[in-house]
Structure formats: structure tokens, C-alpha cells
């Protein structure tokens, strides 16, 4: 079957999609967006996390046909051209990336958290990232990265003229 949807703001069409295929497979194998990673295919690891109509979900658990006419946002859509999103920059600066397999999912999930909570507590960060597994870092540097991104975004908001939150 054919599936037509929007990825990172761009209208996209995938052909010859098998009816039982996941959105993750379509992204990686059919539309050239391998940023979302496939590690477990059972919702346990979060490395395939993408936005679906604005909510972070495991793309391995969304059937391809379910995204017809909907909006998907992947890790590839976070940066503005060559400028990394503050969340991405913070992960680089804090050394929160080792093998990098978990990183795309953590970036999307953190991006969502910081859109909803401007000053998340450590408990809120842990809760938000509880569906994202990392086998390398031991999570401490990831916590550092999220705190750093939150602080930088807060500074940017303070510097911006009022009314331009976001």
C-alpha cells in the first residue's frame, strides 16, 4: 500500500509498504531517515522515539498505515540547517553521547520535556526519560545534558523580548 504523510514539515510518500510494517521501518528503509534507531522493536528502549502529531511515541509501535495524512517529527528535524537545537548542543557539550545509539530517542524525548517544563526537577527528568535506555553512559551525563539544555533555553528566553517564549 501507499502511505502519504508529513515528515519534518515535508510531504512524503512511501510506496510498497507492507500492511503490518512499522512507522520506524518506513522512516529508516523507505524514506531515507535512519536517524531513529531500531534496538528492540517492542517499545522498551525508546531509541525509535519520534513525534506523532506533536506527541513523542515509539515509532516501532505505530503501524505505517496509521500515519496516513498525519505529521511525524524525527531527530533529523530538530536542527535548523547547520545549527543544532539547544538540546542537541547540550548533549554534545555535556559528553552525553558514547556509542550514540540511544541518542536520537533521548533528543526527541528531551526536546518534548523542555517544551512542556521549563525548569524540570531531576525527578521530572528521570520520569520523562524512563522509557529511554542507554547501555553506555550510566545516565549521569545525560542528566547533565538535560539540565544544561534547560538552563540555556531559560537564558535564551530571558534575553529575548517578552512575549517571545518558546
Amino acid at each position: 500500500m501507499k502511505v502519504t504523510f508529513t515528515v519534518n514539515g515535508r510531504p512524503t510518500e512511501a510506496d510498497d509498504v507492507w500492511e503490518g510494517e512499522s512507522l520506524l521501518y518506513v522512516l529508516r528503509e523507505r524514506v531515507g531517515l535512519p536517524g531513529s534507531k531500531n534496538a528492540c522493536e517492542q517499545g522498551e528502549c525508546g531509541s525509535c522515539t519520534v513525534y506523532l502529531d506533536g506527541d513523542p511515541v515509539c515509532s516501532c509501535l505505530v503501524a505505517a498505515g496509521q500515519v496516513q495524512d498525519r505529521e511525524v517529527g524525527t531527530v533529523e528535524g530538530l536542527a535548523q540547517g547547520d545549527t543544532l537545537d539547544p538540546v542537541q548542543q547540550a548533549f554534545v557539550d555535556a559528553g552525553a553521547v558514547q556509542c550514540g545509539f540511544c541518542t536520537p530517542g533521548l533528543l526527541v524525548q528531551t526536546h518534548d520535556l523542555l517544551n512542556r517544563a521549563h525548569h524540570p526537577s531531576d525527578a521530572e527528568i528521570r520520569e520523562a526519560l524512563s522509557g529511554n535506555l542507554c547501555r553506555c553512559t550510566g545516565y549521569e551525563k545525560i542528566m547533565d545534558a538535560v539540565r544544561l539544555a534547560a538552563a540555556r533555553k531559560a537564558d535564551a528566553r530571558d534575553a529575548a523580548p517578552t512575549g517571545l517564549e518558546g
Binding site: 515509539c58 516501532c60 498505515g65
Partner: protein
């Protein structure tokens, strides 16, 4: 395989009548795992995502919440914690944020796993499942819904449209034992709801019998105990011995098995502890609100 995408509820019922073996898919958090691991290859998937009304809820005149089958757990947690505190507590323990953004009570009921976290609170609140087919609508009391391990009362041509759940009139609690704080299937779980207007106490046991079930003897015991001692009226302290007895009776209502997640004996023990604690929490909440209102 076919991918069927009805746009309306009426269309979905017609499609299900034509293809009774089609597997409905809502959040996909159970269905897709089976597909990804090739455990099950149905001839057709019936996508419910396009049917907007399944993602909404209404409050009836009698304060019953009519919860659309596909409303994700995250919405229940954000929007309905006051009306459905037990279900919202259960929802908070489901999987991870990503799973809660997709997984739904309709899907939990469709799968009917004894470990599903929506079941104990639904039993304790006295919910009703609205099932429909082209033949008509049935309101199935939750007590009659679970038939066996992963078996429910739906006919092959039926779909769940909504779950009717009375708004809480008293405190409710949910407790779950697992090996860690997130992303864990219940070793066992327990829900209790006080219904002060009806002077009733209802319960739900999860993951400790072939189906989710109530602890009827424990309910009868605490109902009689609260009546005989006039505690509903006096809002006095609940004796610890009463709470302990309640816990023992809850454990006795279970029929657990030994499996990888825990032994039957451990499950019974944990249930007794959870039941004792949650009863005391709800009773003390009830007393506190009574005092605040007085």
C-alpha cells in the same frame, strides 16, 4: 494482509461485521509487538485511529465519565485525575511516557491480560464496557467482562466504543508491585475505591489470577465492619486489625501462579500488604476530607 481504515464509527462496525477476524489496532502498543516479532499474522488490521470520537470523553448528567476507547493514558492522567483517581494512578504506572501517549483503556480491555493496569481500578469503580456491533449496543458490567487469560466477553463482530466509569465519590488508590519504578509489568496489583454515598467499598486484583477479579469476601467483611462499628457516620479511626484482616481476605481471593515475575506465595503476601496499606490510605483521606468539610 489488509489494512482497513474506517473513517467513522458506523463504518468501523460495518467493516468488523464483514471481517470478523480483522484485528483492531488503536495505540498499537500490544498489537505491533506481536506483528514485529511475527507471533501473530492476522489477515487484516482494523485501524481505529481515524475515528475521532474514540479519543474523546463526555460527562453524563449522573457524573459518569464515558471514556472513549482510544483515549491515551497520558490524557487520563492530565485531564481526569479528579473524577477517575484510581484509573489515573494505574495509568501513571503504565510503561513509559511514549507508551502512555499511545496506549489506551480500550486496548487494555481488548487484550484482557490479567496484568493490565486499567483492570483493577475499573473493577473497583464499577465500570461498564460499551460494546457495539452492527447488531446493536451492549453494556457489559466489568464484573462480567473478563472470561479467562487474555479472553474477554466481546463477540467477533464487536468493538469497544467507550468505558462508562462513575466519577469518584470518595478516595481511591492503586498499588502495583514490580521490579523497578518504570516500564514494568505488574507482579501483582491492587485497587480499592471507597463509595461513601453508597457506603460501599470495592476492590480489584491484578496479575494474581487468570483474570482480573474483585475480592468479594474482603469487600463484604469491610462493608459489614464499617456498618457495625458506625465508622461511616463517626469517621473514626480504622483499627489496624481490621485493615490487616481485610488484607488477608484480599490475598485469599487471589489464585496466583509461580512464574518468572514472582512466586504465588510472594504475590499473596504482597497483595495482603498492598490491600492493608491502600485501605488505610483511602480511609484516612476520607476522614480528612470529612473533617475539612465539617
Amino acid at each position: 494482509m489488509e489494512f482497513l481504515r474506517p473513517a467513522t464509527w458506523e463504518e468501523a462496525l460495518a467493516v468488523k461485521a464483514q471481517h470478523p477476524s480483522a484485528v483492531p489496532i488503536a495505540g498499537g502498543t500490544d498489537v505491533m509487538v506481536d506483528l514485529n516479532f511475527d507471533r501473530h499474522r492476522p489477515d487484516a488490521l482494523l485501524d481505529l485511529n481515524r475515528i475521532h470520537e474514540l479519543h474523546t470523553w463526555q460527562i453524563a448528567d449522573d457524573d459518569t465519565v464515558r471514556l472513549g476507547a482510544s483515549v491515551p493514558y497520558s490524557k487520563i492522567i492530565d485531564a481526569l485525575p479528579d473524577r477517575l483517581p484510581g484509573l489515573a494512578l494505574g495509568a501513571r504506572t503504565v510503561g513509559s511516557p511514549q507508551i502512555r501517549n499511545r496506549g489506551s483503556v480500550g486496548g487494555n480491555l481488548g487484550g484482557a491480560s490479567p496484568a493490565g493496569d486499567a483492570h483493577p481500578p475499573l473493577l473497583a469503580s464499577g465500570a461498564t464496557v460499551e460494546a457495539a456491533s452492527v447488531r446493536g449496543t451492549r453494556l457489559i458490567p466489568i464484573d462480567d467482562f473478563y472470561l479467562g487469560v487474555k479472553r474477554n466477553a466481546l463477540e467477533p463482530d464487536e468493538l469497544i466504543r467507550a468505558i462508562h466509569i462513575p466519577s469518584a465519590t470518595g478516595p481511591q488508590q492503586f498499588a502495583k508491585v514490580g521490579t523497578r519504578n518504570a516500564m514494568v509489568i505488574a507482579v501483582c496489583s491492587f485497587a480499592v475505591a471507597l463509595h461513601p454515598r453508597a457506603r460501599d467499598v470495592r476492590t480489584g486484583i491484578g496479575s494474581a489470577a487468570p483474570t482480573p477479579r474483585r475480592a468479594s469476601e474482603a469487600e463484604a467483611f469491610i462493608r459489614a465492619e464499617l456498618d457495625d462499628t458506625g465508622l461511616w457516620t463517626s469517621a473514626g479511626e480504622l483499627p489496624l486489625s481490621t485493615a490487616k484482616r481485610f488484607g488477608e481476605l484480599v490475598a485469599r481471593a487471589a489464585a496466583p501462579i509461580d512464574d518468572v515475575r514472582g512466586s504465588a506465595a510472594y504475590r499473596r503476601h504482597a497483595l495482603a500488604v498492598m490491600a492493608r496499606r491502600t485501605l488505610l490510605w483511602t480511609w484516612n483521606d476520607h476522614r480528612a476530607t470529612g473533617r475539612a468539610a465539617a
